[in-house]
């Protein structure tokens, strides 16, 4: 196994991990503020992808633009749809249950996740009558990959990494520098005191949902660009992985989410890539990638339940 192959696997893992990280931020922010596993976050991610595709497919002219010029428009479309869905879900489904027993919002989230998938599968239409019951094609970059000494970096990979870096920097700025960001931090640390200080916790919760959704939409765009297709059910596995990443990094910790994503992405690619490379272990390669990811989750929960950037898992049962 040559170094080039290994480096290629690392590159793949980093890109995959950056995408997981972007989704994981949404889980971690919502969990940080109201201790809810927003099970429907995977579907918010999926909706972001369809929002972007809608802009591309339905707005006349966008499809004829060069892809890099159309990207900002698509991104905007994806973010709008994802944020609207997340804020709407918070408003209509989660907020009324704020004081209910813990099972109630979780079950609501599962219901929401099923319903959103089905809405897309049943009613999404492409121009020309195509539907979204099967995966639909997504525009992707043409042109050759960048060759860095044998390690190929696809254009979409580059976009993913840059997008993730920009998003994380923006988020760090937002949390540390803006009034809303600091208010959000305060709410997460102590909702009651925050309220006494004049912070509206409901607003902060909406902000957490919205920011998470926006990042998920970015992630969905990168997913579409990399694989050339999106599907109504892609949120399930992606959400599961992203949640694993969030736990891995320490749930409630935004930087931890990105770190957890990258660790998970690397672990997945390296384990399946290296196993696939050798004849004797080839059979335990790609087919088992998801299994290795979950084994990692269980190991983390067993050995370091507070995650890598260990935020204390308080008694928030």
């Amino acid at each position: 196994m040559s170094v080039t192959v290994l480096l290629q696997l690392v590159e793949n893992g980093l890109v995959l991990g950056a995408m997981y990280g972007l989704i994981a931020v949404g889980y971690t922010m919502v969990y940080g503020t109201i201790q809810l596993i927003n099970f429907a976050h995977g579907e918010i991610f999926m909706l972001g992808g369809f929002g972007a595709l809608t802009v591309y497919a339905w707005i006349p002219g966008v499809a004829h633009l060069p892809l890099f010029a159309a990207l900002p428009l698509m991104l905007l479309g994806g973010v709008v749809v994802a944020v609207a869905a997340a804020v709407g879900a918070e408003r209509l489904a989660y907020r009324p249950l704020r004081t209910a027993p813990r099972l109630a919002p979780l079950i609501t989230a599962i219901g929401l996740s099923l319903a959103l998938q089905q809405v897309v599968s049943l009613w999404y239409r492409l121009p020309g009558g195509g539907n979204a019951k099967a995966p639909v094609a997504f525009p992707s970059f043409g042109g050759k990959a960048f060759d860095l000494g044998g390690v190929l970096v696809q254009r979409a990979d580059l976009f993913t990494v840059i997008a993730a870096a920009v998003c994380m920097a923006g988020l760090a700025w937002f949390v540390a520098r803006t009034r809303s960001g600091r208010a959000m931090q305060a709410t997460a640390q102590d909702p009651d005191t925050a309220r006494l200080m004049g912070i509206d916790p409901d607003r902060m919760i909406v902000v957490a949902f919205a920011v998470g959704a926006a990042l998920a939409a970015v992630a969905a765009l990168t997913q579409g660009l990399r694989y050339g297709q999106i599907s109504f059910d892609m949120g399930f596995v992606a959400g599961l992985k992203a949640f694993t990443a969030a736990v891995l990094g320490g749930i409630g910790n935004v930087r931890g989410a990105m770190l957890g994503g990258i660790v998970l992405g690397l672990a997945e690619e390296l384990s399946s890539g290296i196993l696939a490379h050798f004849r004797d272990t080839a059979q335990y390669g790609q087919a088992w990638a998801d299994v290795w990811a979950f084994v990692l989750l269980i190991l983390v929960l067993l050995l370091r339940p507070q995650g890598l950037l260990g935020e204390r898992v308080a008694d928030r049962a």
Binding site: T99, L103, I107, G111, A115, L240, A287, F294
Partner: protein
């Protein structure tokens, strides 16, 4: 003697009724109800349309059929419910139907009849293309079911505290329990064997409204008091009814449906132990069903099994299946149950996925050959128990039991066992510990309840019961494949459906998941046009239920309190207020009366 004592007992209630009813003439209302119901009853003996194109053949004059049977039954029930309101003190022999007063019952029943019959009348025009397809009977039916609705709303509200049940001999109580349970069986049988969607929708509309009415009239409460006093007899009655279902069937067409409902319900009950009793959200529960099914299939002697030469008798298969399931449950539960909070939900979800992927990969190509991969274990032989071959038809009591009938009987035994375990555990020290953990784990730990141990117990028990159901399911479908055990798909059982059955039915209860599972299975099965949208509707149903009625269709008392902590407190305060005021106004009434005298 009876009349005088009953008058004495219901006197305060009657007083209230009189007062509230001032102004409206109840006699008109009663006449409308009687007239309308009688006309509707009569119309069922006429034909409702001229063509057999409408399902159920409503063209026959002389005796009712299809949807007409529902109208007939509801009309009779409405007339019966009118009994207590007719004579002063009610028509003798009918007062039992409405211990809390018959007006609410009458309103619900007339609505039930109007909804069910009205639906058919509209459906005839809709499906056959216009009211030209109506005949005299259709017009009579359509018009006459509306009269009772009008009439029932003219009647003054008469809701009152039920009179205490009269002491009756034990044998009579038991007879009543048996008769009522058998009635329930007949109603259920009618619902399960409805042959087309119109009949099923009519049935659901009718049964839903009528059920509400019977609950409001206090009859259900009275009956549950009766069952609570005769628990053993009730158990046997339900068991007998469940067994006799199969003897009502002339073919296997609906027994196969019932088999699948029973498996679904058994697993849902198992999940209810985990979710409803112990409060642990398990999103990968169907995997335990799969563990049981795979384990049994591997040692059943099917040619597709790697261990085809190992053929164990069924009892051994079941034992191994349960043991492996419990083991899997403990393996997953041990690391995660130590943690608090929602990690369990996600780990179980992950486990469900791992199970499916692993079963898929153990095909000799991506892993060692154990499960035959995606092709699965097929050709699983039929069960044999004490020389009884489940695959062959048998004649029992002059009735031929087909393959599915045999399995039905076994499944009834299994679900009875599960219910027994559920009830006994819930009423024991363990059940109380679960309730304590569910409500406040910290407090429970402080009181000396070993949370981890009890949670693990719930998890293991739930896994074992699902595994038991799985061992039978493998034989029943004769094929076990990984994609039968997913988180969500359009066909039950899968983890999302199971959770929906428990939540819709009522967490922590026995009848809740049974009802939930039957509805979730029957609705898509009967309403073919519904297939595409069922997952969407289930998703929405979960959201709406959590918002409006988180305790489910059949609420557990304690659960209800947990979910409505604030509202119940407010309600109680309000009720006290109202009672106070009523007392005061009663007093005023009496003063007035005295003054007049």
């Amino acid at each position: 003697m009876t009349t005088s004592s009953s008058t004495g007992l219901t006197a305060p209630g009657r007083a209230t009724r009189r007062r509230l009813g001032r102004g409206a003439d109840p006699l008109v209302g009663k006449c409308l109800i009687a007239l309308g119901s009688a006309a509707a009853l009569g119309s069922t003996f006429l034909s409702w349309t001229w063509t057999t194109a409408f399902p159920g053949d409503l063209t026959v004059t002389g005796y009712p059929g299809g949807n007409q049977l529902i109208t007939l039954f509801l009309s009779i029930l409405t007339l019966l419910a009118l009994g207590p309101a007719l004579l002063p003190g009610g028509v003798p022999g009918t007062r039992w139907i409405a211990p809390r007063g018959s007006v609410r019952l009458l309103r619900s029943l007339s609505l039930a009849n109007a909804a069910s019959t009205g639906y058919v009348v509209v459906a005839i025009a809709w499906e056959l293309g216009g009211v030209a397809n109506y005949v005299a009977g259709t017009w009579i039916a359509g018009a006459s079911v509306l009269l009772p609705v009008l009439g029932a709303w003219l009647l003054p509200e008469d809701d009152h505290e039920p009179a205490p049940a009269r002491p009756t001999p034990r044998w009579a109580q038991i007879v009543v329990v048996f008769v009522v349970v058998m009635l329930g069986l007949l109603v259920t049988d009618f619902g399960v064997t409805t042959g087309f969607s119109e009949e099923f929708i009519g049935f659901c509309l009718g049964a839903g409204f009528a059920g509400r009415g019977l609950a409001a009239s206090g009859l259900f409460d009275r009956f549950s008091a009766l069952t609570a006093a005769n628990r053993v007899a009730t158990g046997w009655a339900v068991f007998a009814a469940a067994v006799s279902f199969v003897f009502l069937q002339s073919s296997d067409a609906y027994t196969s449906v019932a088999d699948n409902i029973l498996i679904f319900a058994t697993v849902a009950l198992g999940l209810n132990i985990v979710v409803g009793l112990a409060g642990l959200l398990d999103l990968g529960y169907v995997a335990f069903l799969g563990v049981g099914a795979y384990t049994a299939a591997l040692v059943s002697g099917t040619a597709a099994s790697r261990y085809a030469h190992v053929v164990l008798p069924f009892w051994a298969q079941a034992l191994i299946g349960v043991a492996v399931s419990v083991l899997a449950g403990l393996l997953i539960g041990a690391p995660t149950l130590r943690l608090r909070g929602d990690y369990l939900a996600i780990v179980t979800l992950g486990f469900g996925e791992i199970f499916r992927i692993t079963m898929n990969n153990l095909d000799g190509q991506s892993g060692p050959q154990v499960t035959n991969g995606a092709e699965g274990e097929y050709g699983i032989p039929d069960l044999r128990l004490f020389g009884y071959d489940f695959g062959r038809p048998h004649t029992v009591l002059g009735h031929t039991l087909g393959r599915f009938g045999n399995y039905y009987l076994l499944l009834v035994l299994v679900i009875a066992l599960v219910i027994f375990i559920f009830a006994r555990v819930n009423d024991s020290r363990i059940g109380r510990a679960w309730a304590a953990i569910r409500e406040d784990e910290t407090a429970a730990e402080a009181m000396g309840v070993h949370g981890y141990r009890f949670k693990l117990l719930a998890f293991g028990l739930g896994a074992g019961l699902a595994g038991l159901a799985g061992t039978i399911q493998g034989h029943l479908t004769s094929t076990v494949t990984p994609d039968q055990y997913t988180f969500s798909s359009s066909a039950p059982p899968n983890s999302a459906f199971l959770l929906a059955a428990v939540v819709l039915g009522g967490m922590g209860t026995i009848s809740g998941p049974l009802l939930g599972a039957s509805l979730l299975f029957l609705i898509p099965d009967k309403l073919q046009f519904f297939h595409n949208k069922q997952l969407l509707l289930f998703g929405i149903a979960l959201i709406v239920m959590m918002r409006l009625r988180p305790e489910g269709l059949v609420p557990d008392k304690r659960r209800r309190l947990e979910f409505h902590e604030r509202e119940t407190a407010a309600e109680e305060a309000y009720e006290e207020l109202v009672v106070d005021e009523l007392d005061r106004s009663d007093g005023l009434d009496e003063l007035e009366a005295e003054a007049r005298a």
